[in-house]
Every structure is written in C-alpha cells, then in structure tokens.
C-alpha cells in the first residue's frame, strides 16, 4: 500500500462515562493516546470496547466526560480531525457497487483527486477486479475490505477499528496487518479492539484492557502486553 501522507493526531478521553438507563457501559475511563501510537483495546464481550470506540469517533455522546483530538505540532484541541472508523458492520450500501460506495463517501468527504484515490484504494484492498460488483454479492471479508478502504479515503490522522480482522481469511489478515503497519509507520494513530493475539495485535505499541466498563490495565511492556491480550490472568 502507498504510504499515506497523514497529519498525525492524538486522542484525549477524559473521565468518559456512558450509561444506558441503569446499566454502565463505561465507568470514568480516561485515556491519552499520543500521535503515532498503536493502541490495542482488549476485553471480553460487553466490556465496553465498541462503546469506547464509538464515543471516540463522536458517534455516541458520552453521559459525562469529554473527547478531544490534538495535533502533534501543537498540543491544542482541534475540531478538524475526523477519524477513520471501521465498525463491526460493513458501513457500505448493499445496493451500490464497491466503486460507487467509495465514490459516494469520497464525494461527501471532499476527497482530493477523487478518481485516482478511489482507483488506488480499490486496487490496494484487492477489489480492483470486483469494483463493479454490488456489495450485497460480497463475502464478509470483502465487505470488510470495502469498509477499510472507505475509512482510509481521506488519509485520516486517527484510525479507529472495531475488531477489524473479523471475517477475514488468513490472507486477508496478513493484508490487513501489512496495511496497518504501513499506516502506523507513516504516523497514523491507530486504536483497535481485538480478541487475543494475532499478526495484527503484534503491531500494537500499547495494550489497554477494559473490564465491565472500567479500564483495568494499560501497558507497553512485553510480558504484561501479552497477558492483557490473552486475558491470562482472568
């Protein structure tokens, strides 16, 4: 994949709390992610990973607490940072082709050199030959590739991925790992939720573990890093 020209940005989550009625999805979670970091979010099902990522993407409003992005050049909050986001679902229209989906989101995001960018991304995610096929004819893995291509359209400074390897075959996982490595090396800040150790988790420079909505571990070191990913102490 062509190394993107990203403007690295960091993420600051302060005392994030999210309640659905009496149920706490997140309890006073604070996290400061430096520009260029690659953070792996680990935790069991229902621990709050998806909610945290959606709050970071500003798709969900926290009950209390604040979310802000800051640029690497100056440590000031910036509203201009629009993170790339890959959700569980494909985030693409079944009734449109892969190419039409990418064009649609590229137009909405006012992507520069739209046609070139769409062509490049379609080739890079391995959908060059299926570009005119409707997304509804795609497998789970191919849909995931469309979602990743859409998230990368505007070369985001921050990329949020919710279990990005779901549905990908071993070749797909290898491709995703290579893509994320290139993005990380080019300065893009990556925050991704994962289950267990994999080729993708090895890209992480930091591991954070959530349990029942609380942040219970945060490390950069080898042994503890592995423990967090595999829930070895759980």
């Amino acid at each position: 994949m062509t190394p993107p020209t990203v403007s690295p940005a960091g993420l600051r989550l302060e005392n994030i709390e999210k309640r659905y009625g009496s149920l706490y999805a997140l309890r006073r979670v604070s996290l400061l992610v430096a520009p260029g970091d690659c953070v792996v979010l680990a935790g069991r099902n229902g621990s709050g990973k998806t909610t945290l990522l959606r709050i970071a993407a500003r798709l969900v409003r926290p009950t209390s607490g604040s979310v802000s992005f800051f640029s690497s050049e100056r440590d000031s909050d910036t509203e201009n940072v629009k993170p790339g986001y890959v959700a569980h679902a494909a985030m693409a229209y079944d009734e449109l082709t892969a190419e039409e989906n990418l064009r649609l989101f590229a137009r909405l995001q006012s992507t520069r050199q739209l046609e070139t960018r769409v062509d490049t991304l379609l080739s890079e995610v391995g959908l060059g030959e299926r570009r005119t096929s409707l997304v509804r004819t795609f497998s789970r893995g191919m849909r995931q590739r469309v979602a990743i291509a859409c998230a990368l359209l505007k070369e985001p400074g921050v990329l949020l991925l919710d279990e990005p390897a779901t549905g990908l075959d071993p070749q797909g996982v290898a491709w995703l790992a290579t893509t994320l490595r290139q993005l990380r090396d080019s300065g893009c800040t990556i925050i991704m939720s994962l289950h267990g150790e994999s080729e993708i988790s090895s890209l992480g420079t930091r591991a954070v573990r959530l349990e029942a909505g609380s942040l219970i571990a945060d490390t950069r070191t080898g042994a503890t890093f592995r423990t967090i990913l595999t829930f070895a102490d759980a």
């Binding site: 959606r54 986001y85 229209y93 009734e95």
Partner: protein, 224 residues
C-alpha cells in the same frame, strides 16, 4: 457551505438505490392501486359522490402509502451501520435529512401522479382542468408528510417497537396538514373548482415550520 453539495450527492444515492431495488415504489403503487380499486366497489362512483368522497379517499391512501414508504427510510441505514458512515462523512447532518425528505417527496409524488389518471377514470372525476393546482397541493402535502415522516423515521428506527411507533407518532402530527390538503383537493374537484388559498397557506406554513424544526434539532435525532 457543504450542505447543498452533500445533499445532492446523498440524493443521488437515494435515487440510485431505490431505482435499483424498486422496493418502496412498487409497494406504495400497488397499495394505493388496491385502495382505489377496492373503494370503487363499495359505492357507485357517480361523479357527485366521487367529488364528495374522492379527496378524503385519495389522501387516506397517500397517508398509508407514505407510512409504508417512510418506515424503512432510516431502518435500512442501520442494516450495515451506513448511518454512522454518513455521520462521519458529512459536515452538516441536516444534509442526510434533506436528501431523504426530497427523495421521499419525489417518490410520493411519482406514486400520486401515476395513480391520479386511474382515480379520475374509475371515479368519473375530470382532473385535467385543475391538474396544475392538484400538482401544487400534492407537492405541498407530500412535502409535509415527508418532513414529519423522515424525522419520525429517524427516531423510530432506534426504538424497540419501531413498526408501531412511526404511525403512532406520525398520524396525530399530520392531522392539520391532512385536513387542509383534503379540503383543498375537495375544492379543486368541485364542479366549479376554486383554490382555497387559506388551506394552501396552512399546508405551506406547516411545511416551513416543521422543516425549520428539523433543521434546528435534526442532529440530535441521529445520535445513538
């Protein structure tokens, strides 16, 4: 100002997906056709009777067809979480509403104008002399139904009893515009047709008020 460019891109998407699947148009056209044909058997559609009942019958059919059409409006954005993708891409969330309500109005108008000749033939009511006025009231009425319906569709899509919630919320809110549109249509179908400007004004003001409310508070309706 990215509202209009974003709206036109999204409108293109709405039209393309609908004309590719034809889900909404087919359902609504068949539904209105059934209503019009069924009612023609319940009474002898002489010209005078039709002038009396016709406008109410038409707007009742349009209302139920609209609730069928508006239900999946935001529901299908949830299937692949495309609403999140849209929210992350547009700079003004009102563009999402604007594109959807323009598309819904257009689909409703297409349905109404396709079925008007059938209504005219089956109920012995000549509509050609007042076609332009009917088109105006159909446009204003459909726009109002679409504005309210699109907003409520965004709310109901996230609720548990969504199929029940939309008509339950929509019908009371639409009462003023339905009464006014029916009155205007009735006057236009009279032997000596005339345009009741007060009724037209009520429908236009209704549209303007609800469009402003949607513009001001639409963003909150999209939040999870």
């Amino acid at each position: 100002m990215s509202l209009l460019p974003n709206t036109s891109v999204l409108l293109g998407k709405e039209l393309r997906t609908e004309f590719r699947s034809r889900e909404l148009l087919t359902t609504t056209i068949i539904f209105i056709l059934i209503v019009i044909v069924l009612f023609s058997f319940t009474f002898d559609p002489t010209s005078d009777e039709s002038r009396h009942f016709g406008s109410g019958l038409l707007w009742l059919a349009f209302l139920f067809a609209a609730s069928l059409m508006l239900q999946p409006c935001f529901l299908r954005e949830q299937h692949n979480d495309t609403l999140s993708a849209l929210r992350l891409s547009v700079s003004d969330p009102f563009a999402i509403f604007l594109a959807k309500l323009v598309a819904n109005t257009l689909f409703l108008l297409i349905t109404e104008l396709l079925l008007l000749p059938i209504f005219s033939a089956m109920y012995n009511v000549p509509v050609l002399p007042v076609l332009h006025w009917l088109a105006l009231v159909f446009f204003l009425g459909s726009l109002g139904i679409s504005i309210v319906g699109t907003a409520l569709s965004a709310i109901s899509a996230q609720a548990r009893m969504r199929e029940l919630l939309l008509p339950l919320l929509m019908l009371p809110l639409l009462t003023p515009i339905l009464v006014a549109s029916t009155e205007v249509t009735k006057s236009l179908l009279e032997r000596a047709p005339y345009v009741p400007w007060k009724g037209v004004g009520i429908v236009a003001v209704f549209d303007l008020v609800f469009l402003t409310v949607l513009w001001l508070f639409g963003e909150y309706l999209l939040e999870e």
